[in-house]
Structure formats: C-alpha cells, structure tokens
Subunit: 356 residues, 4 copies
Amino acid sequence: MTEGGTTENARKPIRVAVAGASGYAGGEVLRLLLGHPSYADGSLVIGSLTAGGNAGSTLGEHHPHLLPLSSRVLEETTVEILSGHDVVFLGLPHGNSAQYAKLLPESTVIIDCGADFRLQDPAAWEKYYKSTHAGTWPYGLPELPGAREKLVGATRIAVPGCYPTAASLALAPAVAAGIVESHVNVVAVSGTSGAGRAPKADLLGSEVMGSVRAYGVGGVHRHTPEIIQNLSAAGGKGISVSFTPVLAPMPRGILATCTAATTATEEQAREIYEKAYNDEPFIHVLPAGVFPQTGAVIGSNAVQIGVTVDADAGQLVVISAIDNLTKGTAGGAVQSMNLALGLPETAGLSTVGVAP
Amino acid sequence: MTEGGTTENARKPIRVAVAGASGYAGGEVLRLLLGHPSYADGSLVIGSLTAGGNAGSTLGEHHPHLLPLSSRVLEETTVEILSGHDVVFLGLPHGNSAQYAKLLPESTVIIDCGADFRLQDPAAWEKYYKSTHAGTWPYGLPELPGAREKLVGATRIAVPGCYPTAASLALAPAVAAGIVESHVNVVAVSGTSGAGRAPKADLLGSEVMGSVRAYGVGGVHRHTPEIIQNLSAAGGKGISVSFTPVLAPMPRGILATCTAATTATEEQAREIYEKAYNDEPFIHVLPAGVFPQTGAVIGSNAVQIGVTVDADAGQLVVISAIDNLTKGTAGGAVQSMNLALGLPETAGLSTVGVAP
Amino acid sequence: MTEGGTTENARKPIRVAVAGASGYAGGEVLRLLLGHPSYADGSLVIGSLTAGGNAGSTLGEHHPHLLPLSSRVLEETTVEILSGHDVVFLGLPHGNSAQYAKLLPESTVIIDCGADFRLQDPAAWEKYYKSTHAGTWPYGLPELPGAREKLVGATRIAVPGCYPTAASLALAPAVAAGIVESHVNVVAVSGTSGAGRAPKADLLGSEVMGSVRAYGVGGVHRHTPEIIQNLSAAGGKGISVSFTPVLAPMPRGILATCTAATTATEEQAREIYEKAYNDEPFIHVLPAGVFPQTGAVIGSNAVQIGVTVDADAGQLVVISAIDNLTKGTAGGAVQSMNLALGLPETAGLSTVGVAP
Amino acid sequence: MTEGGTTENARKPIRVAVAGASGYAGGEVLRLLLGHPSYADGSLVIGSLTAGGNAGSTLGEHHPHLLPLSSRVLEETTVEILSGHDVVFLGLPHGNSAQYAKLLPESTVIIDCGADFRLQDPAAWEKYYKSTHAGTWPYGLPELPGAREKLVGATRIAVPGCYPTAASLALAPAVAAGIVESHVNVVAVSGTSGAGRAPKADLLGSEVMGSVRAYGVGGVHRHTPEIIQNLSAAGGKGISVSFTPVLAPMPRGILATCTAATTATEEQAREIYEKAYNDEPFIHVLPAGVFPQTGAVIGSNAVQIGVTVDADAGQLVVISAIDNLTKGTAGGAVQSMNLALGLPETAGLSTVGVAP
C-alpha cells in the first residue's frame, strides 16, 4: 500500500454494516454506534442495515428509539450487500455466520454476536449445538487473561455470550489465584431480551411479568461449556460448573451469583479482585459489603462486582451485574471493534447507566 | 361449664383476630379467611383487626382488594383487644410477639407470622437477631418430617420464614434420603412483598422495577439458620448452607434454586421426591424436564418443585416455587390453623394460582 | 321426556366444556370453575377441554397454575366433542363461534367470550370486523339496564368485551340520568393479557415492560361501537365516543378514565352512581375523593368506581377498574352462566382481589 | 471586566453545582452532564453536589449508576457551598428554591427543576401550592412559541413540569392554529420516578407493580394550571383543561393522550404539526397511523408525537411520549443551560433512547 493510499485511507470513513439490524443485538450495536465519537466526527459511517424476514421495512418500525436512523430501509442479508464495508457486525441466529465469514474479504473486520466461533472444542460445540463446528475466532472479552492482545488488529471476532461474560468475569480472578476448588456454582438471573426478539408464547409480556422461572436447568444451557472454557483458560483445570439461568421480569440485565468453596478470607479475596481489575476501565469492584444491582448498569458497558466470603459455609460469593445487551453483547462487540481498528478501547462506551 | 354450655360452645363461631392487619402478612391472612369455608358457613368470624401506626384508619385504605372488610376500622394492637378471640394471627415486626403471647390465655391459638419463635437454638437467635431468644413454638410447616403431628391441637405456632419454606421443602427429601453431601447452595429470587410494607427508599417501585439485586449476601440473612435447622432436622447433620436472596421486580413469589453435590442419578432423585411428596396436598413434583415458575403459584398455597441431576457437574438441582405471602406466610398460617382447630388441613387453601 | 327422566336429570351434574382452553379466556374460565361451589359439590363437572393448534398437549403445559387439571389432554375443537355438554364456553378467535353455535343443540348453553354476537348493528359489525354479521345474542353484562332479565335461562350469551365492560359501567349511570352531554371520552389503560396469547413481537415481555403505548387510536378499535351501543341503550341517543386504549406493563387489569361535559355537581353525580349500583354485588362505588387501582381487583369479579366532577373544567370524571380477564371476560361469562342456569349469580365469583 | 479577564474567563471551565443530587432530578442532571461534550473536553466541571438528609453520604450510595462520581461525598445544601459555581441546578422540594435564588449572585445561572417559578399567576400558585408566589422565571421549554429567545443568556430558568411538557407540546400547535375548541382533555400515564424518591408506602414496588391507578383526579393536580398557562400562551384564550394523571408500573416515561373537539381533517392536523415541529431537533412527528411508546424515548430528550383525527367522534387525538426525567426534567434543564450559556442547544442531549 502506498503512502498516498494510506493518506487516502486515513480520510476515508470506516464503513460499518449491521446484519440482523432488526433484532436486539443489532439494535444495540446501532445505539452504541450512534453515540460513538467516530460517528460524530464522520470517520465512521453506518452503511447497510440488513435483515431476514424484516427486509424491506424501515428500521423505525423495529427500533423506534433509534430516531436518526428511523427511515432507513432494511436490506436483505447477502454477501453482496455486506461486501464493501470495513466492519460487519453479525447479529444472526446461531449457525448462520460461517457462510458470510467465508465469502467476505479477509480484511473485513467481522464481529459475530452469535455463538458460532466461540468454542474451541468441536466436541463441546457438537454436544450443545448439534451441528458441525465452524471454527474458533479471537474471543471478544478483553478483560480475560490473554484475550485483549488477540483482539488488537483482529479481523474475525467472536463476541462472548451474555451469561459467560457475567460469570467468567466474576470468577476468573479467584480461579486464576487458585483460591477456589474445582467446582463453581452459577445462578444467573437475566432480563428477557437475552432470549431474543422472535415471538414465542412463553416470552409474551403476560407470561414473564410477575414471574420468574429457571430454564436450561441441569447443565444443558449452551453457555455452560463457554463458561468452563473461560475458567479453564484462567487456570481452572478440570473445573466443573453448575449453571442455572433464571428469567426475570425485566427487559435487560444479568445478575450472576457465583459461589465456590474456599479457604481464603474475605480480605484475601477482595485483594485479588481489586488487583485483577484495578486497570480495567469497565470493571468496578464495589466496596466491602456492597453488592451490585442490574439497574445500575442498564445501557452501560460497566461490570459491577461484589465480593465476599461466607466463612460459616466456607464459600466465596461473588455477584456480578452487567447489561446483557451492552457489555453482554453489543458493548463487548463495539469494545472489540475499537481494539480491532486501533481506536481507544472505551470509545463510544460508557460506565454510566440509565437509572432508575 | 355445663353440658348445655358445651353444646352452646359447639355452636359458637370461632372468633379470629388479626394483629398487624394493615401489613402484607395480615392482609393475606384476611384474604384467605374471606375465602375459607368456615367463614362462608358462619362457623368462623373475623373479629378485631388491629394495627400500630395505622390504628384508626379503615382497612380499605390499606387493602382496597379486601372489599367485604373495607369499612372496618383498625384498632390498636393491645392484649385487651386481642383477648376474647379464639385464634389470633400476629403479623408484627420481629420481637413484638412475645409480649402478647405471655398475656393471652393459653387456650388461645396464637399463630405468629413473625420470626420470634422459629429458632430452637438461642445462640443462633442472638447471632442473627441481636436480641434475647423468646422461645420455640411448633413449626408451621406440616410437610417437614415430624412437623404435622405437633401442629394438631397446638395453641402456639411459629409460621416459617418464606425463604426457609421454599428452600427446606426443596432440599429436605434429598437430605433425608442421604443423597447429598454436607453442603447445599440456595439462591432464591423473591418478589418485593417479602420485604414488607414499611416505606424504604430502596423498595420504591422506581428502584425495584427493571432491576434485580442480591442482598444479605454471604450468609448474613436471618433465614440462613432457619434453613440449617430444618435440614438438620431432616437428617442433615452438620450441613452447611450458602444462602443468597435476590430481589426481583415482581410483588410476589419465590423461586429457590438449590444445588448440592450428589452421586445419585436423576431417576433416583426423582423417585425420592415423588415418594416424599406423593400424599402432600400442596406439593407438586413436576414431570421430568419441567421446572416451575412463580407465576403459576401466585395466590395459591401450592409448592411446585422441579428435580434434575447435572451429571457432568455431579450436582442435584432442585427448583421450588411458592407464593411468599401464601404458602410462604399466610397460607402456611391458615394451614396451621386448620390443623390446630381440627379443620380439614386444606380448608380455604387452593392449589390453583392466578395467572397470567 | 318422563318425569322420572326429569328427576334423573336433576341429579345429573352439569357438564361444562371449554373450547380454546389453552388461551387466556379459557384458562380463566377454568380457574373460576375450579373454585365454583357447584364444582366443589359435584353438581358441575368439567368435561372436554379443546384447543386448535395445542390439541394433544396437556393443559399443564399451558396453564401450570391450574394444578388440578394439569394432566388433562386438550382435544380438538369440534362439534362432536363439544356436543354432550350442557354448557360450552367458547374462547375462540373472532369469527369462529357461529359455526359451533349453529350445530350444537339449542338447549346447550353457549357462552361466547368472542365478539361475534355482541353487536346489534350489522353495519357496525361489518365496518369494524370486515366480515358478515353472525347475529346478536343476549349481552352478558347484567349490570346494564335491562340486561339481567335477558340472561336468566338464556342458552346463547355474548360476553362483552373487556374495555366495553369497564367503560360502559363507568358511564351508563350518568348517561341514563342525563347529566352528561352527547360526547364522552374514554382513555383505558389495559394489561397485556387482553391482547391474547398468540405470539407477536410487539407483545414480547422485552417490548412491553418499561413502556406504555396507545394503539387503535382515533376510534378504530373494535370496542368503540360496542361502547356506543351500550351507552345508547342506557339512554344516550346519538352519543359519540372517543376511545383510546393504552397498553401498560402488567398482565391484567383495566383502568378506564371517562370524562364528559356536565353541569351536575359532584354530590349529584355521586348520588346517581350510588343509587345505580347500590344493589349490585360486584360494583363498588368508592368514597368521595378515592379512586380505584387495578391492583385491587386482580382475580376478582369486582368493579371499583371513583366519581368526581372537575368544576373548573365542567367535566364529570369517572374512573373504573376491573380485571380484564375476570369481570372483563371469564368472570362475566361465569356470572352469565349462573344466571342462565338459575344458580346464585355470585356463585364462584369473588369481590376479593389478590394484592399486592 | 477587562479583556484579560474575559480571556481568562474563556479558559476557566464552567463550574456546575447540583443541589438535591441524591434525588431523581439531580441524578439525571448528573447523568447528562457526564455525557456532555463540555464535560468531556474539560470546559465544564462538576463542582459541589449537595443534599439535605443525605449530606455526608457518597453519591454512589444513591446513584450507583453514576460510576465516575460514585465516591463523591454529598455536601449540605447551603448558599455558601453553592456560591462560586457558574451554574446551579436545583432539584429541591417545592418551596425551597427562592431562598437560594435570592442570595446567589445574579450572574449565576440558576436552573430550578422545582415548581416555584413556573406559574405567572399568583392566584393560581396560591390555589394549587397553598403558599406565597415566589415569582416567575423564563420557562425552560424552548419549543413553545416565544420561549426559546427568553432562555438565551438567561440566568434564572424555571424547568417545566413533566406532565406540562408532554401535554403542552402535544397540544400547542393545534391550539395555536385554532383547530380545536376551548376544551381539551389530557390523560397522561406516567412512570413512578415522577413521584420522586421520598419513601412512601403507596410508591413501594409491591404496590405499583401489576397495577395502574389515577390520582389527582378532577383537576386538582398542580400541573393543571401550568398546562392551561402554556396553552393560553399558545393562543388558547379561555381554554379549559381536564387533566388526569395515571401512575403505571414502570420507572420512567409519560404517555399523554390528548383529545379536543375539531372540525379539521387528519391531513390538515398533520400538516400543522409537521410544520410546527419541522425544525425542532428533539420533536419528532411520527408518520400517519403510527403512535408513540414511552419505551422509545427512555434516556433520550426526544418527544415523539402521533397525530390523528377521529372523524366519527369529531376529535383531534394527539399522543405524545417523553421520558419524564430527561425531556420532562433534567434534559429540559440541560437544554436550557445550553441556551443560557450559548452552547449548542442539543449538546449532551440525544434523540436516541435505550430500548428494549
């Protein structure tokens, strides 16, 4: 590439496409891009917005909160339409990303909000997703040990699942420090947007309001192997995870209650967490005795974490709160994009939530 | 007393008073009494309704849903006013029941919805409630091994806490059968009415809607020793309990996710639960693969339980759902009253919830 | 039929079928029947439960709150299956009732929770429902002037719409007394169950929680002509109605705010309402200065009404609250059944709500 | 002031204080300031944060979503502490602003989120607020005819009430164009944060979830005279307003349903609204047949408006949606600050909401 080209490139705005723009992940990516400083200064432009069944309708019909884009018409999700963009966010049902990844140029930064490229172990993929493993991409959770450097300049990124984001960040420091035994317990309460926007009777407002329910009970939820993978990478060899997701009557947010047998004291545990996350711009370890609420992180990319030790029960208890659509999906995606493109990692992402 | 008197007594209706009638426990006791067949046939009458600061106001100002009683004026909670009733429900702040218990006749059936007489161990009481132990009364959870017979004809009854009701019924069969080890983990998501009706900033609708938060984290919640007591009684000697309560944006309901290491198979575990609860009118073990939601038990005295084993993680996972105000408080109280008075145990209590 | 047969019939229990049992209307009819004294004493039995696409599944999969019926298998909705019942509740999509009505015996009491037979004016039907008018049946709102007597012994009953129930009962006394002019304004906030159980993206929990929205704005909602019909029957000749329904984040309940120009004083207005509803078992006119909340009528058949006059604006303001599924649908249906069968009108119906 | 001083001033950052920082209005002002470009570039700094009873605690205890300020300690609200700031936002209970206004320098820009200086008519103030009228300040609703120019360079600004913001913007164009008669009807559904953060039993989550209720019925709500004042200023001489606020189970948002008799056609009405708001950056008139939902404006300063005419009823129906804390309070306050300081009016304010 010539200097002239470089110069010209430097002036050309980054063109970003969002596939699956009418869904929740796509909508949240767009919400964050609209507030991104590179969008404000014109160095990043929002190109094609595509959809499956909703192609042909306007974005405003699906996301009336994205006023500046409300008259945009959704195009069909095809390789042709996605080509010609520098960054492509994929918010597609699981199993649909590989086809676009193959045909788009290698230089295109593809950021997949789906599960297709998260798992390293083909056997785990096949067991939980009942299909052929598509491969493994750099994992878009920079706060995990060793993850950030693989994202810098990456052109293929697998955005973590929302539950694995909350659980892994809550447990990785303890696992890495060796203060917990080989079994951890995660009960994570989530808002309903994590279940997506496809209409299902059991996700109707009438069903979810005024009620909580557990689902995917007994280790069958697809995020279980992803949590195990992350904790293993953090040093938890042979770790076993009991994971129970619970659906709560709220649109957004995940609160993960994580417990594991420990002989550490609360002071030791807190020191480990504070040290681990001291330099992380999005992770906030709360003062002793304070525990997070999801309401404090809505719309933000923050992770709030409370740490204690139940000495009577011999258990480390760590509670983490994230917004499943922001840090748990689209915020993680934009954070990864920033790293991939060499932008400031925190650009367009806030630690300030919308409350109450 | 003459035989004639006895005969007349037999015709005299049972007079019931409710102390703390403007609170949630008191209101729910009244809701159930209004639907009780003994109230319908006149053999039970609702006598004095008393309150603290709300004395002098009408019940309708506090419980507009109790239309038949809406013009009743709340009296002061005093021994004099409570005397002359055959049954007295106490829905008072913790620490207030003993004074009434002492001064009311021994023949009066006192059913305490508060914590004062639940714990057997004075040391546990003092550690968690920071006051002198008042004593121990028969425990109003008939489904626990050995509990029902102590309630028949009892005149002093301690209604269990809402979380211990959900957690103990979820875990007791496994503990009694010896299929779990000496540690259990309980994460229980509750509606807000469990926190009572006293105005607090962090219980405002603006704060709780759209948010979940853990509280009493690290074994410090007062229901911890009560759960341990129940599981110990079920056979779990030296059992340790990690208990984390979580507040969810809904008025009623508790969903308890209980896990414990096991080597049992799912079939073995299910058989134990089905056998344990086969004859219980209010406890329903769901079919394999089905787990409860709190929305299905609202307003009912039912306990719905789902049982599975996560073989990969070596964990028994039991999920139970109750209405914290019904089975978890006032329903348990009325069920206990029925046993105390020799009425059918299920009188006035339903397994049918109000949904959606 | 011989006298002996009559005698035998008198002993035979009433067999009740519910078509559309997996929907919200059907489920609520079943909830009420399970608490009906005729069900308790065996003089009414719950026969076939039928469904469309859900035929073959158990009722418990759709209504886990109806525990006593949870293992019942749903049958196909056909004339053959519905035949042989004394009472048939229809909870079917609009336009489907006429076919069953034609083929079932005339002696069968058919209670249609759908709209097909509500409107008297074929032109209004065709304008709002875009199909041929099926006819008009006695209208199941006994509290409207002249309605009750037509329901006694009826074998075909059209259950009112939920909004018309709330609005008509709020306005009929003022219209009948002639204290309001020829235009009324109704803004009615409803819970989501009124929109039914068919999965739609805009009824997902994620969409409805944390948001209110108006729909059917500008007089296009199908309940508009029904409200006009009721108020016209109450004496409001040539009355015009501006009706705006608003969807709120709650499963149940309707709060109708009704305004109309008046020269009456508040005292005059209150006297009219108190007189009109003094003998009605389900309608409760609240004290001066008190206005209803939907939370106080959930699960009950009560109608709570608040009346005032805004003298500065020259407006009568009447607020009514109902449970859209109970008084607004299934409660009205059971109340009508009671009248049709000669049972006490209030049997199985309560004025006590479930709160909080 | 010398030129040198001017130059120095130009470099000095604007110091902003927030009184009542632990309340909802104060918290929202801070949320917006943290995202303001002048805060980002250092030309605006957040100075003292003050409180009443909460003085001495950290901001994080009250607003855990404002992470960057969470360790800030709240000071006492006194003139001394507020002095030395260039801009002071007041989020105080009604009746408390005048004392600070008197003693702070005239050059200090005081932006009062309370009601004290909104009304022009002392009689209206005394009737609705039962106290002495403090005066009238420029009204912080720039989109009302004639309002914007009074805000440019102002040093005293009265932020409008949340309901008047929604209702006045919905009705002003029709009133100004003379297409509605002399009476308008407003039923406005609001989230609970509008009622503030002081703990009250009827605002507990248990009370508000699952229920809607009207309050301030019959023209007694204090926002009634403010709506009348705004519509009168828009040209509606002698206009009467029937205003009914309704509390809904959500933290934020107002949906105002506004009706008034008209002979205009829908096309005429829509043209008037589109013309009136064509150049307004925050007001968006939705396409024909589309009506707003509050969920689309949460966290944003946008006003979404739907307009139609119910020809059968002869009524103009206008629905507006705002976030009561943003455009309805703190967003309007920051928009006014921008005008007062000569910053771009839209700085720090978005038309993009957080949804779902």
